[in-house]
Structures are given as C-alpha cells and as structure tokens.
C-alpha cells in the first residue's frame, strides 16, 4: 500500500523543484574560455602527432610538452590511486616517483592511442559548467582523416590558478559514455587491491608497459 504524501512533503518537493529550476540554468551555462582552450590545445596535439616534417624525437618532445600543459597530470595521478593516494601525502619521494612514472605512462598511452587520429580535425560543439567558472565539461567531435564518422569526445576541465587543465576525457561509444580517468582508477585499484596497496609494484608494471609502448611507437614511426 502506498502512503499518501503529506502536505509538508508536497511543499518540500515543490521547494526542491523550484531550487532545481533556479539552479539549472547556472549549470547549463556554456564556458567560452574552456571551449577555446580545448579547441586550441587538442588541435595542436593532434597536429603534432601528424607532423611528419619533424623527427620522431622532436615530435615526442613537442607532444610531451603540449600534454603537460594541456592536462593536469599530477592531479590525475593522485585521482587514479583512489584511497591508496593517501600514501603520497606522507612520502614525498614516493609521490615524486609516482608522478613521473604516471606522466611517462600516460603520455605514451595518449601517443599510442591517438596515433590513428593524427592529423584529425577537432571541432568543439558545446560545454556545460559543473561548477561555474571552475569545473567545465566541453563536448567536441574528432573527425579522423579520410572523413570517417566523427568520434564524440568530452573533456573535463578544472580551473586552478590562472589556467584551465584537463583532468578527464570521455569517449562516447555506441551512445554510451566512458570516462577514461575513472576507468584507469578502477584498473589501478584492482591491481593495488591484489598487491596489498603496493604503489611501487604498480610502478614497476607501468614502467614495463611504457617501455614496450615506446618501442612500438618508435617502430611505427621509423
């Protein structure tokens, strides 16, 4: 049997709906600065990967620099460790080592995976503020060379200090969305859960993967 809603519950619901109605436009606002940031930096990264006029090592250096500017890698490095990130707060050496290992691994993954999109075009289509002026999700479409169907990609940006930085990227596959930092976090948590939270053991795995990815990228570019 269903209980009748009380008058208080009805008023509370009405109030909640009103608050939501007032709050919604703020969340729905676009952010032109974040959109421009994605448009310029993502286009530069894709252009760099497709630039065959420079040597492989120059390309890598340029891409590394762009990615370090574009993405907040230390913040992502902290996020993907989940609760195990607490270890970094008490161990400066571990934190520095982890940040560097994660940076090398992430850039190799981006370079490896984005290779098929080198020279692709990007078009920002929309944005929505999660927190006004500070946390924005920018929507874009990446069109591969050859005019294949555009891939919808979303970028989550946080504003810290004077600039924007990307903290997560989502792909929309067959209409379903997956955020890559969240995926990576879950993967790392699975590994850490099995090795009693040993971040150094995880780093050893990541260094091996990074080395093999680097070999593959070099072989592909040579």
């Amino acid at each position: 049997m269903t209980a009748r809603p009380t008058r208080a519950a009805f008023i509370a619901g009405l109030l909640g709906a009103s608050v939501f109605a007032i709050a919604s436009p703020a969340h729905a606002a676009r952010n032109a600065a974040a959109e421009q940031y994605v448009q310029e930096n993502a286009a530069a990264a894709l252009r760099t990967l497709g630039d065959r006029s420079i040597s492989s090592s120059q390309r890598r250096q340029t891409f590394d620099r762009l990615m370090a500017q574009f993405a907040d890698l230390p913040r992502i490095a902290n996020f993907v460790l989940g609760r195990y990130g607490a270890q970094l707060r008490t161990d400066a050496a571990l934190r520095s080592e982890w940040n560097e290992t994660f940076r090398e691994y992430s850039i190799a993954v981006y370079e490896d995976r984005l290779d098929s999109y080198s020279g692709a075009g990007i078009r920002v289509t929309d944005s929505v503020e999660r927190v006004a002026g500070r946390d924005v999700i920018v929507s874009s479409e990446i069109t591969p060379r050859g005019g294949n169907r555009p891939l919808p990609v979303q970028w989550r940006l946080l504003r810290s200090g004077n600039g924007w930085k990307v903290v997560d990227v989502s792909l929309i596959l067959e209409g379903n969305q997956i955020w890559l930092a969240q995926q990576q976090q879950n993967d790392f948590l699975a590994v850490l859960g099995r090795n009693n939270g040993d971040i150094r053991a995880l780093m050893t795995n990541l260094r091996q993967l990074t080395a093999s990815m680097r070999q593959r990228i070099m072989a592909r570019n040579s």
Partner: protein
C-alpha cells in the same frame, strides 16, 4: 534514468555520492574462476577468433562489413522494441519500430540504414537493462569464454531476450541453420569491430582482466542510463597538498588491505553493451 522510473528513484540517483560513480566496486566474488575462464577465452581468441576476424577484415571491403553490421543490428529490432516498451520508453519504442520498418524495406532487409538519415537514431536495449531499470542489481560479475564479460543479471537478460527474438520462434532445420549462421556472423563481425580495442588493452593495460571488467561495468551503467550522464554525478578531483605531511611518518609501513576491486574497453564489452554478441 528512464522516465518510467519514479521521481523518487530519480532523485535518489541524482543525489548519490559522486564517488560511487567511479569507485563502486564490481561484485566479483568468483574472481578466481572468472580469471581462469578469461585465460581460456584468451587462448581461444588468439587461436581462432582473432585470426578469423582479421581474415574477415582482409577479404571484405568496408562497405560490405557495414552492410553486415546493419543487417545484424536490424534483426535485433524486435528485441529492442520489446525492451523499450517494458521500460516504459514509448517514444524510443516508436523510433525502434520506425527504424525497423524503414530499414527492412527501404534499407533492403536491413543491409542499409536509411533510418538514421531520416533522423531515427539507433539505440540499443536488452532485458538486462530492463531488469536494471526495474531496480534489479547486477549480481556477481561473470566472464564466459567466447561470450565475454557479463553478470548474473545480464546473463539472465540474454536468455529472456531469446524469447523476444522472432528468429527463435521458427522451427525446423532451416531456422536452426539461420540461427547458427547469425550467431557465427555476429561473433566474427563484432570481433572485427573491436580488433584495435583489444590490441590496446593487451598492450597498455596493467591488468587486462580488470580493464575489461571496468569497461563492461562503466559502459553498461551508461547504457542503462541511455547514455545520459548528469555532470553533477562526476567524481571530484581533489586538490593536492603542495608539501607532503611529514608528521604522519613514512607511508611504506602502513598496511593497505585489499580494497574494492575495479571494474575496464573491452573485447566484448562494446558488443555486449550494444547487444550484438550472441
């Protein structure tokens, strides 16, 4: 959340702690067995499935493969329609019915997809998603060789979807042959579509089993929500203190007990989400 779900459930969903979005563990109490079955699957895949998929790609031009994919997707129309209705998504049910009608006729038994050009966007549903909309939890994670990642709810859903499928209603040797042919063709087509994805997981992942589990879980979650994510549900990315807190002592002596295990792009995550593997 579906419109059919009560406002109360919707409110509960929106107010769920954002951390749950990312860190909620996939229930995998049979992980030992699942990992063993995953290893069996990998062996079969590398010996048979992957080479066949690469061969299929080598001998068929892209338009032919697109036609095969369209044809197989169109066959799923009745199953998608039934689940749209069961979820109370009548507008989407109408889109599914119209797509099926247009693609079966104008699209020549589904080989072409003119419906998309008419503004009838494709979506997918299955009974696993319907159960989720009805509030049924996922149950333990399962990895079934050949079929890929799943869970108890979605595996149950697959069995029920077979009942919705008109091809399964027909009797006789020809119908049986058609069912087998469709199953094989679906397997090959789907495996071909995820060749690069699987390569990426094998090359880049610290734990391919966990990556597939994660991807399956996150993509299924998105499918259940019909791809609609409320940005307020996204997790927080905490600020990092500039200097480590030395007062707490070194971190290496702390014992970190095994925690929730993660959930991963997958072989068959993609096809299971789209419901194309059979």
């Amino acid at each position: 959340m579906r419109r059919a779900v009560s406002i109360l459930a919707l409110a509960a969903c929106l107010s769920a702690p954002s951390i749950a979005f990312a860190q909620e563990a996939v229930s995998d109490p049979w992980e030992g067995v699942n990992r063993g079955l995953f290893a069996v699957h990998e062996t079969i895949d590398q010996a048979v499935l992957e080479p066949v998929a690469r061969g299929y790609r080598a001998v068929t031009p892209r338009p032919v493969r697109s036609g095969v994919t369209n044809f197989l997707r169109n066959l799923r129309g009745p199953v998608i329609f039934a689940n749209d209705v069961l979820q109370g998504e009548f507008s989407r049910a109408g889109t599914t019915a119209a797509r099926f009608g247009v693609n079966t006729t104008v699209g020549i038994v589904g080989v072409f997809d003119p419906a998309t050009n008419f503004g009838l966007e494709r979506h997918d549903e299955d009974f696993g998603q319907t159960l989720a909309v009805w509030g049924v939890g996922s149950g333990p994670y399962l990895f079934v060789p050949i079929f890929g990642p799943s869970n108890v709810r979605d595996t149950t859903g697959r069995v029920v979807d077979m009942v919705f499928d008109p091809l399964n209603w027909a009797r006789g040797e020809e119908a049986e042959t058609a069912r087998i042919a469709r199953g094989v063709l679906t397997g090959v087509s789907v495996r071909e579509q995820v060749l690069e994805t699987v390569d990426g997981i094998r090359a880049n992942s610290v734990d391919p089993y966990a990556s597939i589990r994660t991807s399956y879980s996150l993509l299924r979650e998105s499918a259940i929500e019909n791809g609609r994510t409320d940005v307020q549900d996204l997790p927080e990315f905490d600020d990092i203190p500039e200097t480590p807190d030395s007062s707490s002592g070194g971190g290496s002596a702390v014992s970190y007990l095994p925690q929730q295990e993660g959930i991963g792009l997958t072989y068959f995550a993609l096809d299971y989400v789209t419901g194309e593997a059979s």
